[in-house]
């Protein structure tokens, strides 16, 4: 028996919007690293500009959630979905800010000569985006096991960050003139590390959606 048709439709639409926002954020992260690699200042500017769209999407989803709560009184599993969505969009919005931050660093670097070819930073980017994409899939599939697995993968990003940090530290010690450029790259790596960390927050919320339990899963090193 089909019941609460409008309500079910709204609930589904909200989750679709979260996926859409997730892909906007993923694209922003990928583009910010791409712009850094290729010194594409125009693309970096685009990332900065597009962050507004991510922020607006977040407010639009939040409003839909508020309206649904006010008019349809979601309960139990549905209530947990809505609460999770409210948390997810906050995490996603913040990840968008990190991507914007990376783009701004690229703009700051401008046409300075590269310090070194980027190797580990693109790896961090790929890993973090892979985790992000899968965490949202886990949300849609209500797959708490997958969410817990993804959380464990945060260590890989942390290790890459350590590697980037150590390597750049050596550059700076050898030649203090590289300090400015090296520090900027550390910021980039740090932003990526934070992105992966926020994916683990999403994963915790997926577990909450499925089980109703709120718990921190595997605290990050940073």
């Amino acid at each position: 028996m089909a019941i609460r048709i409008t309500y079910n439709k709204r609930l589904r639409e909200i989750q679709d919007e979260v996926l859409l926002m997730g892909s906007m954020v993923e694209k922003a992260i990928a583009r910010s690293i791409d712009a850094l690699k290729r010194r594409d200042l125009k693309l970096a500017e685009q990332v900065v500009e597009d962050d507004q769209k991510i922020n607006q999407k977040r407010f639009a989803i939040e409003e839909s959630c508020i309206t649904l709560i006010a008019t349809q009184q979601p309960m139990a599993g549905d209530l947990r979905i809505i609460i999770t969505v409210l948390n997810l969009i906050t995490e996603l919005e913040r990840m968008g800010d990190y991507a914007e931050g990376i783009a701004r660093i690229t703009l700051m670097i401008g046409d300075e000569p590269p310090l070194k070819p980027l190797i580990d930073i693109p790896r961090m980017d790929e890993k973090a985006r892979d985790m992000l994409r899968r965490s949202l899939e886990a949300f849609i599939n209500r797959d708490s096991d997958e969410a817990i697995r993804i959380t464990a993968e945060d260590d890989e990003v942390d290790n890459l960050y350590d590697q980037v940090f150590r390597e750049l530290l050596i550059f700076m010690m050898e030649d203090p003139r590289t300090i400015t450029r090296a520090t900027r790259l550390i910021w980039v790596a740090h932003n990526l590390e934070r992105i992966a960390d926020r994916v683990t927050n999403i994963c915790e919320r997926v577990v909450f959606t499925v089980t109703g339990k709120m718990e921190e899963i595997g605290a990050s090193k940073y």
Binding site: M1, I3, Y7, M75, A76, G77, D78, R80, T211
Partner: protein
């Protein structure tokens, strides 16, 4: 937490129809317990079994036990009038007697033999105050109760129930005939009353159950029998993370 009422395998039949099916539940003292479930699931039958209101209906058969402070209320030694003094009831439609406000509140105590005017005055004031109605009626206690608004009438009925100093108050959809403001007043009142009394409330309004109760019990009917207790637990759990799929479907509005 202490048990005020406990039912053990309580079953009830109206003739051939089974309206309660082996209900075992422990109702906690000084808490509000909400009974929820679709129409015909047996909530009202259950609440009425707690002060033997079903005795008045012909063809009722009961098995199992209902313990009030560990004493079986269906035992032969139980005085039903005394039981109903300890376990009072408020109904869906406000049903004040066609007499003055004062006489409504004094009705129970008079039946139980209190004649002293000073003593009655004191009980009337105390119970009307406890029902959060005193400020609105203190200057017109001798006016007919039926001249009050629906919400005031319902609070007067609560005052009337309180006047005999019950231990448990059963409320069968006490707000379903009231407007939202009057409903809010009754809900606030329930929160006050639970400090002194144990309250069991039947409500069709799930939001109300979520707002007023500490514990919630979800009843359902099955093909050939009703009054099946599906899940009983803290209200916060029933409405955010119920254990049973059927409870989840009901509280999310997907059936019932």
């Amino acid at each position: 937490m202490t048990n005020k009422i406990e039912t053990i395998n309580l079953s009830l039949w109206y003739g051939e129809h089974q309206a309660l099916t082996e209900v075992s539940i422990e109702i906690q003292k000084n808490m509000v317990t909400a009974l929820i479930g679709p129409s015909g699931c047996g909530k009202t039958t259950f609440i009425r079994a707690l002060n033997r209101m079903n005795d008045l209906i012909e063809g009722v058969r009961i098995s199992g036990e209902v313990l009030l402070d560990n004493e079986d209320i269906y035992a032969d030694s139980i005085d039903v009038v005394h039981l109903r003094k300890r376990v009072g009831m408020v109904f869906q439609q406000p049903n004040p007697f066609p007499m003055s406000i004062y006489d409504n509140a004094a009705y129970g105590p008079r039946i139980h033999g209190i004649k002293n005017r000073g003593k009655l005055d004191e009980i009337v004031e105390r119970s009307i105050r406890a029902a959060a109605l005193w400020g609105e009626v203190k200057d017109r206690l001798n006016k007919p109760a039926l001249a009050l608004s629906g919400g005031q009438q319902q609070r007067l009925c609560i005052a009337r129930a309180l006047a005999v100093e019950p231990e448990v108050i059963l409320m069968d959809e006490p707000c379903s005939a009231l407007d939202p403001i009057a409903t809010t007043k009754i809900e606030d009142l329930i929160q006050d009353l639970k400090k002194e009394y144990t309250i069991v409330i039947v409500t069709h309004n799930m939001q109300q159950a979520a707002r007023v109760s500490d514990m919630a019990a979800f009843f359902m009917m099955e093909e050939d029998r009703a009054g099946v207790l599906v899940e009983y637990g803290p209200t916060s759990q029933i409405f955010t993370n119920p254990e049973d799929k059927r409870t989840e479907d009901y509280v999310t509005g997907r059936f019932g």
